[in-house]
Symmetry: C2
DNA sequence: TAATATAACTTAAACGTTTAAGTCAAGGAA
DNA sequence: TTCCTTGACTTAAACGTTTAAGTTATATTA
C-alpha cells in the first residue's frame, strides 16, 4: 500500500500535523523531532500525495502548455527544443509541466484551456505563437490566471513576456542581402494575424526602405510555417516573369522548403539565389547549403519564460525582456 | 470565486450527491433531473476540481512521459512528433499528459519517476529508448504501475509494447545496398545497451550475411544518435585506408551528420557514397540529397501506445504489436 | 390489504493533506 | 506564590469530490 503521512506519524507516535510541519520547515518543531521525521519519512519512502496537497493548498505546482499544432502530424524541431526547455526548467523549479496540443483557434483548444483553468489543473500557462487579437490572452487576463509568453501583442503591458527582437534584426538581414547586390528580395510569411508575421514583415519592409529598394507586392507570398508552404511559395515566386534573386522566409522550416524547390528547379542556392530563414534550428547548420538565419536560443528562452511564470505565480511582477537574435551567415546567401 | 458542485446543488435545491451522479451518468437519476443538472452546470460553468476528484477516485486521469534527453539542449524532431502524438491522443482520451525531461540513467530521472509514482501524479507511463537492462521497467513492474512502451527488451512479455520491426527491415536495406554493388557497408550506431542499437545492428549483420558479405569490424563506429555523432563517425570512417562505399546509420539524425561530413570532404553522396538512415523524419525528404530511410509513422505510433496504456490502466491486457517500417529509397543511395 | 420491490433521491464518510486554533508543561517575571 | 510567555506539540476543520449505505414515496405483487 501507499505510504501516507499517517504512517510516518504513527511510527513516531506523533500527530500528522507535526509530520507535515516538520517536513515543511515550520519553526515550531524541535530540531530533534524534525530530524526524526525526516529520517523516518525517508525510510518509509513517504512522498506527499499531490492530489491531497493541491486540494488543500489550492495550488497545483503545475504549469500548462498547449502546443499550437495546426495539424495532427506535426514535427517542428522548434517545439521539441522549446518543450525540452520548458520541461527541464519546470523540473528544476519543482513544477510539473502539463502538455497538450490543439489547433490554434479550434474549439478543442478552448476546451483544453477551460478544463485546465476551472479544473484547477495548473497554476499558470505558457503561451506562444501569439495572434494580434488573441482570445487566450483576453481569457486568461479575465480569469486572472497567470501566464507568460514568448512574443507579445498590443496588450504586452499586461503580462510578462519574452520577446525576440525582430523588426530591427530582420531589417539588418535584408540590408545585408541588399548589400550583396540583391534588388529583388522576396518574403514568404504566414497568416497575417500572427505576431511573428507582423513583426518579421515589418522588419522586411524596414530593411527594404533603409536599403532604398522599392516595395513590390508581387514578391510577397504567404506560406504556413512548414516546408510544404515554403516549397509551394518558392515555386510560385520563381515562376514569376521577373523572379526574386533572394528570398527571406519567416522561419527556417519554410526556408527548407524553398531550398528543395530551388534544387528541383536546378537553381544553385547561394549563387543565383539567396535564401535566409529565422529560428536557427540545428538543421539549418546541416542543410544544403547551410542556411543563413537569425538564431534564437530556443531552449534558454523556454527556461526563462518558465522562470518568469514562476515569479508571476508567486506574486511578483517580473519585467519583460527582449532578446536580440544572432545573425548567422552561411552559404545559402553566398 | 470558483464554482463548485455545491453551487450547482444549491441552485437546484438538491444534494451534491445528486449532481455528482447525474453528471457521471448513474442510472438512479431521473431524466428530468439529469437534464436540469447538466443545464445548470453548464450555465454556471461548473468544471469538477481535478484535485478533489483524483483524491477521492484514487486515479489521476493523467499519464506521464519523461523524455530521455541526453543533454539540456535537445531538439530531435523524432520527439516533437512523438510528443504531438502523445498529446493529441491523450486529449482525445480525456487524459492529461505530464511531460518532463531527464538524462537517461541520471539521478534526476529516477527522482522524477519516484515523485510521479508515489505522489500519485499519473496513472501510467509511456517509455521509449529502452535499454536491454532497463531500471525503469524493473521499477514500474515492481511497483505495479502500468506502462506501455515503444520498443521492447527481453522482458517484453511483461508489458504491452509497440515494436517497429528492425532486424528484417534493416537487413532488407543492407541487401538493397549490396544489390547496388556495395561491398564495404559501414554501420554507425549508438550505445550498446540501447535496444534500438542491438536490433538495428543485428539487422545489419543479418543483411551482410544474406548478401554474402564478410563482417568487417573496422566498418563499425559508434555515434550518439545526433548529427554531431554522425559527423565525427563519418570523418573517421572516410579516413580509413579502405573506406566504406556505403554507410547505414542508426537514425536519420546521425545520417544528416554523415551527409555534412561527406559534403565537407567533397564526396558526392548518392554517387561515390551511399548513405541511409532510420526514422523517416520529415527532414529526410528535404535533405540534400534526400535520404534513403526506413520510415516509421511516429505520430501514429505515439497514438497507439497511448491507447494501449489506456486499456492497460482500465484492467485489460492489450496485445503488443509490431509495425513494419517502410523502406523509402531516395537519392542518397543513388 | 399487507408485504415487497423499485425509482429517485439524501446522508455522511472517506480520500490525504494543510493550517488555524487550542493545549499543556516548563521557564521567567512580578 | 501567581501570572504570563514561550516552545512544542495536538486537535479538528477544512479543501471538493465520490460512493456506500441509507431513506422515502410510489408501484407491484401475493
Amino acid at each position: 500500500m501507499k505510504v501516507t503521512i499517517r504512517d510516518v506519524a504513527k511510527k513516531l507516535n506523533v500527530s500528522i500535523a507535526t509530520v507535515s510541519r516538520a517536513l515543511d520547515g515550520y519553526p515550531d518543531i524541535s530540531d530533534e523531532m524534525r530530524r526524526q521525521v525526516i529520517q523516518t519519512a525517508e525510510e518509509l519512502g513517504y512522498v506527499p500525495n499531490q492530489a491531497a496537497r493541491h486540494l488543500r493548498r489550492r495550488r497545483t505546482d503545475a504549469i500548462g502548455y498547449i502546443l499550437p499544432a495546426p495539424e495532427p502530424r506535426f514535427g517542428d524541431p522548434f517545439f521539441s527544443e522549446f518543450i525540452a526547455g520548458l520541461g527541464d526548467e519546470s523540473a528544476r523549479q519543482n513544477l510539473d509541466l502539463l502538455v497538450s496540443t490543439a489547433p490554434p483557434g479550434s474549439p478543442e483548444e478552448e476546451g483544453r484551456y477551460t478544463r485546465w483553468i476551472h479544473g484547477m489543473k495548473v497554476d499558470g500557462f505558457i503561451l506562444n505563437r501569439l495572434k494580434q487579437q488573441d482570445w487566450r490572452i483576453s481569457r486568461l487576463t479575465a480569469e486572472k490566471i497567470p501566464f507568460a509568453t514568448l512574443e507579445c501583442n498590443q496588450d504586452a503591458a499586461k503580462y510578462p513576456n519574452l520577446t525576440v527582437e525582430s523588426v530591427e534584426s530582420v531589417s539588418r538581414l535584408i540590408q545585408y542581402l541588399a548589400g550583396k547586390g540583391h534588388q529583388r528580395i522576396a518574403y514568404i510569411g504566414a497568416h497575417d494575424d500572427l505576431v511573428i508575421q507582423v513583426d518579421r514583415f515589418a522588419g522586411y519592409q524596414l530593411g527594404l526602405k533603409q536599403a532604398g529598394i522599392p516595395f513590390d507586392p508581387n514578391l510577397i507570398f504567404p506560406g504556413n510555417l512548414t516546408p510544404q508552404g515554403g516549397f509551394a511559395a518558392a515555386h510560385h515566386l520563381l515562376s514569376l516573369p521577373n523572379p526574386p534573386t533572394a528570398i527571406f522566409c519567416i522561419n527556417d522550416l519554410t526556408a527548407f522548403g524553398v531550398l528543395r524547390a530551388a534544387q528541383e528547379r536546378g537553381i544553385q542556392v547561394g549563387k543565383s539565389l539567396a535564401v535566409a530563414g529565422f529560428d536557427g534550428l540545428a538543421e539549418s547548420e546541416t542543410s544544403q547549403p547551410p542556411l543563413t538565419t537569425l538564431n534564437q536560443p530556443v531552449y534558454d528562452i523556454a527556461c526563462k519564460i518558465v522562470r518568469m511564470l514562476v515569479r508571476l505565480i508567486s506574486g511578483e511582477h517580473p519585467p519583460s525582456e527582449t532578446i536580440i537574435p544572432e545573425l548567422i551567415l552561411r552559404d545559402s546567401t553566398g
